[in-house]
Symmetry: C2
Subunit: 285 residues, 2 copies
């Protein structure tokens, strides 16, 4: 874990000073995959939404549930796929020329391996997985948003308070506008936040000046030793999208089946992060 | 604590079936005051905002901070003051004919005694103090809102989701309108909720059909063994009030000095609960 933490810290430093540290992020994730291969065991947990979830176990601890069908257990294969993703950036087209399924697999593997290592060997560091998720997303989105300025907040004229977004890409085309990316590994009770922020941005800068895409890993939670549930609030999301503020969509690495049903997806676009990168991003920004 | 829990459960049952159980609530609070007088010791903790806070200690546990200057330690005096408040209801005028300072003291004492007993002797029951607060507020507001129908949510036409308010008084004057009372002992990170709910109600029923008054005990938190802080987010509250939705005010039993400053109170009315009951309520509903 010391090596993993040092690799993560180096990636975070580079990211925080404005970089897109693809190498350090790939090395961090590859090391996490290797730690799990060497020191943890996986076992099947439960079926949920027709998908088979597993957990990793080590040191008497049990990890969050994950999808083995979307997880690449070989660090060398992962590194090759991560390089394939990074090299597929098409800045002019604002998208990636890599099939959505491949992007989903490599990003899901990076996040899962990193989060599971912290579940097993450093469960007290509750904020670290979210920080890594931010750095991964920011570093992957930056190359296909050329000229956009990346920050962590939107400055509000005439307010003492800023809107703290996880990531915001300020548009080169206007003084006040851009793409807001709230990044949550799972949303749980915090789903109101990105909708409330979108409403405030609409109110201050005019509707649509800033657009928000909420990006999540999944909504899966382990429920005891033999069960997994997707914690979904479809009625709440419909209500917020219709009457609080309209976001431009929600992207998941492992989308909950409930949110792909028509009553939700007819109100707010729900897609995989791979689809966002392959085809949807240019339609939004 | 068994007796306290039984008294509380009886009050809650009567409240949940639509009643205004002033007797059972007074008995519950008086018993909590008595338990503390007999089995706990208070000691000074710290000064904050020019006010001296204390804590109760018992069974090796330390309670939340409270203001001894606003706490009535004699259960008989408390019961007399509680009856004086209940009897001061002026339904036609929609207010109470009791000085704000007396209402604040009796309500603050009831809430403090109850919460502190749970801090010391049943700290696992995290939701119980909030439930008691709801029953106290609902039972005190109901007599001065004659004809209003009390519920815990607003049904939204065309939505599968309701807006879960802590308390809502549906107006007798219109099919869709009334007074929403989010009741939070302290707000902390949940302050976005009542503003988001107000925005949704404005969007669905028209601005101002429903009005919200957030009611809290205080924002005081104990910080270690010798310190107390008021956790305030003035910039956030200004921002939400101006750009998320306008609430009709925030009432505290022990208002934080920071929220009485002009930069906040010029944007959103901040008052004591006693002031709400004595003079402000008829201006809102």
């Amino acid at each position: 874990m010391q090596t993993l933490h040092a690799l993560f810290a180096a990636a975070k430093r580079a990211y925080d000073s404005g970089g897109t540290p693809h190498g350090p992020i790939g090395d961090t994730a590859a090391h996490a995959i290797e730690l799990l291969a060497q020191r943890a065991r996986s076992r099947g947990l439960a079926q949920c939404d027709g998908k088979a979830y597993s957990v990793f176990e080590a040191s008497g601890r049990v990890s969050r549930p994950f999808l083995p069908s979307l997880y690449e257990p070989d660090p060398r294969v992962f590194q090759a796929e991560w390089r394939a993703l990074v090299q597929a950036a098409q800045p002019k087209a604002k998208c990636y020329g890599l099939a959505a399924a491949r992007s989903n697999r490599v990003l899901y593997t990076a996040l899962t391996a990193f989060c599971v290592c912290y579940d097993l060997w450093k469960p007290g560091s509750r904020k670290t997985p979210g920080t890594f998720f931010e750095a991964v997303l920011g570093s992957i989105l930056q190359p296909v948003l050329p000229g956009f300025r990346r920050e962590g907040h939107v400055i509000l004229p005439g307010q003492t308070e800023n809107v703290s977004t996880d990531i915001v890409f300020h548009s080169p085309a206007s003084a006040h506008g851009g793409l807001v990316i709230p990044a949550k590994i799972t949303t749980r009770e915090r789903v109101v936040q990105p909708f409330a922020h979108q409403r405030i941005l609409d109110s201050i800068f005019g509707a649509g000046a800033f657009k928000s895409v909420l990006i999540c890993v999944s909504e899966m939670q382990r429920d005891g030793d033999a069960n997994a549930n997707a914690i979904c609030v479809p009625g709440t999301i419909r209500l917020f999208q219709m009457h609080l503020a309209a976001m431009s969509g929600i992207g998941y690495l492992d989308p909950p089946a409930r949110y792909l049903a028509a009553d939700v997806s007819s109100v707010i676009p729900v897609f995989t992060v791979g689809e966002l990168l392959e085809t949807r991003l240019p339609l939004i920004v």
